[in-house]
Symmetry: C2
Subunit: 388 residues, 2 copies
């Protein structure tokens, strides 16, 4: 049964548009072409702007074994590429397509000039190396974007004109789909960059703020790292609560959990002798000050909860609101354990560091008193495994 | 000459994929359909997830005048929408398409059950109100995404089967293109949100840092606003230098220009009596401290230049590097003028505020000495116009 080209083209166009990974797109199309059109093999040379070269994309099959070393990519000066970039095909064959037969016929004839003859000969040599009988280019705004390389048909017959027309239309659609996919990738990479910029700037500013407090060097990044590890362990137990968004909010909240200390004067933060009740109460305001600083930023709503409540305790003796048990949001409970562990194991102005094992025991002892029991459990597991 | 449907479909598919604005996409297609297929008018009902309704998109033309009030959008309970959402068309006509003629014929026959008959009658009533002779649905993953409404052909004849098939294929392609466009818009909006998050968090943290220095409340945001206004004026004179990227870097740099003050102790920053030479030298380190804090962030490279050099002077007497004239980057020169003007016109621990006019004169006097002459010129123009 002959293939219905119109229908195939429609289907191909439809399936192409929502594939936003250029590599996957090309592989899918090549596979469909090889199967539906009953071709021994097909491949595509796709332009890679970074490498300034045309990279060969193959869909499995027999060509992979035959491909000569050094043909994984062709640069702009390669004769086959030059032949199509300069649109010589159209000037010789009245079509964008180059077939092995047409090329051989043209070289036997006398209509071709010397320079073109040389180029076509070199191009033909490469086509043969690639076991190709038809090359179909795809241009986007006059730039050669990719080159379809078709092997022989399974029945050994020559390609019909309408078959080649179909492949030309398909290649043209594919060029648009690839362009679309590349634009998508660019946008995604920009989004990723912006996220990195946000995280890195926050980390830099937090580190600068932290540097004011002589005793907490590196505290923030350690708490962030501990918090994320605890959350990952909790995720293994309950995927619903600890999803990607929760992780992102936790990351931000753990980085900013002490940002409110910027509102407390340096001499209180760095005091070596005992704090007065008034001074201690001032320090206890830091979760609320932090929440207030970030309050105008609606996108940080869920992170702010973690900052505001990271000193609450299940027994209700925490601050600022004296929340009890399940009233305390999980994001805050995670930071609470990570914060306490790091504080216990580093020197503070008012006392030296505890040994690690003593700190772990202390946290375990205070489960359900100062710390959320499930978070403590996850923390203890990680300690036993030697993660920290 | 009859239209070549295959070619039209190919062209349509190709042009659709790179239009990433759903509204523009639909308008372009409707316009092409009306022109190429010689139809009196065409329109599309497109599903809007936010409004949970199908919104009518019309391309100019005659229908706009005829459209009845209240038909700008149809909700999910509307009979015409229900008819297609429940895929009744296929059950009655063995096709997804509903034409006026087919509907009338079906209602005259006896094969249709009572409930469907009522629904079809109501749908038919609406089709007539919309001056439509054929409705072509487009589904994406079994959801009705849009409904093509075609008016009469210009020659008054009925639509041929192959014409309707063409429109069905077109509608299907359009559904994919619309979906693609919507995904693009979503990604762009996410990028925009991330940018806002970055800017707002930076502003909040900078404001918190600034609050440590009793005398500089609001200084940062005022300097940022002044800097951007000066840059916009410079842009009118030289679009090449002051492009969108420059504006973004300037915005970030102006917000962060004093971030290095976090590294200087509170008692020096808030000192009321004269500073010692040592203390003054410490304050002069703030541009370098700021640049050091942000140095790990590669994306901020160009902004850091503005932070590091905003106290350089064309006469070479500035700090930290004593750069001269054109050696000073424009981004730093702009912040320098904005910073000086705001500092002059607000109280400082060591002196009260100058009057605005005196500050303006002072800046003008120091053009090419302390300030870049083109920046000063732009600043003076804005002052004369009463912008500040």
């Amino acid at each position: 049964m002959p293939i219905d080209f119109k229908k195939e083209l429609e289907n191909a166009a439809r399936s192409m548009i929502l594939v936003h990974d250029p590599d996957l797109l090309i592989k899918t199309i090549i596979r469909a072409v090889v199967e539906k059109a009953r071709i021994n093999h097909a491949s595509v040379l796709l332009y890679d702007p970074k490498r300034q070269a045309y990279v060969l994309k193959i869909s499995g099959g027999s060509l992979a074994k035959k491909i000569p070393v050094g043909f994984a990519s062709l640069d702009k000066d390669d004769p086959l590429i030059r032949f199509f970039r300069e649109r010589n095909s159209r000037s010789i064959f009245k079509s964008d397509i180059l077939t092995l037969k047409n090329a051989q016929r043209a070289l036997q004839g006398s209509d071709i000039n010397g320079r073109l003859e040389g180029l076509l000969k070199d191009a033909l040599y490469q086509i043969k190396l690639l076991d190709t009988v038809a090359c179909i280019p795809s241009y986007f705004r006059d730039e050669l974007l990719c080159l379809f390389l078709l092997g022989e048909k399974k029945d050994g017959k020559e390609y019909l004109g309408k078959e080649l027309d179909f492949f030309l239309a398909l290649a043209s659609n594919m060029a648009m789909a690839i362009r679309n996919a590349q634009l998508f990738k660019d946008l995604e990479s920009e989004l990723n960059k912006k996220h990195q910029l946000f995280m890195r700037t926050t980390i830099a500013l937090v580190a600068a703020i932290e540097a004011k407090d002589n005793y907490t060097h590196g505290h923030t990044t350690r708490v962030a790292s501990l918090s994320l590890q605890i959350a990952r362990r909790l995720k293994e137990k309950n995927k619903k609560i600890v999803n990607e968004r929760f992780m992102e909010n936790l990351h931000i909240a753990s980085l900013l959990h002490d940002v409110g200390k910027i509102g407390i004067s340096e001499h209180i933060l760095n005091k070596k002798s005992g704090l007065t009740v008034g001074e201690y109460n001032r320090i206890k305001e830091h979760p609320l000050i932090g929440a207030t600083i970030l309050k105008p930023i609606k996108e940080l709503e869920e992170s702010i909860v973690g900052i505001k409540y990271h000193h609450e305790r299940p027994d209700g003796c925490g601050y600022p609101d004296g929340l009890k048990g399940q009233e305390i949001p999980l994001i805050a409970s995670i930071i609470s354990v990570a914060d306490a562990f790091d504080a216990m194991t580093t020197d503070r102005p008012y006392r030296p560091a505890l040994f690690r094992d003593k700190a772990v025991k202390e946290i375990s002892r205070l489960s359900n008193v100062q710390f959320n029991p499930s978070v403590t459990e996850a923390f203890m597991e990680l300690c036993l495994e030697g993660v920290f």
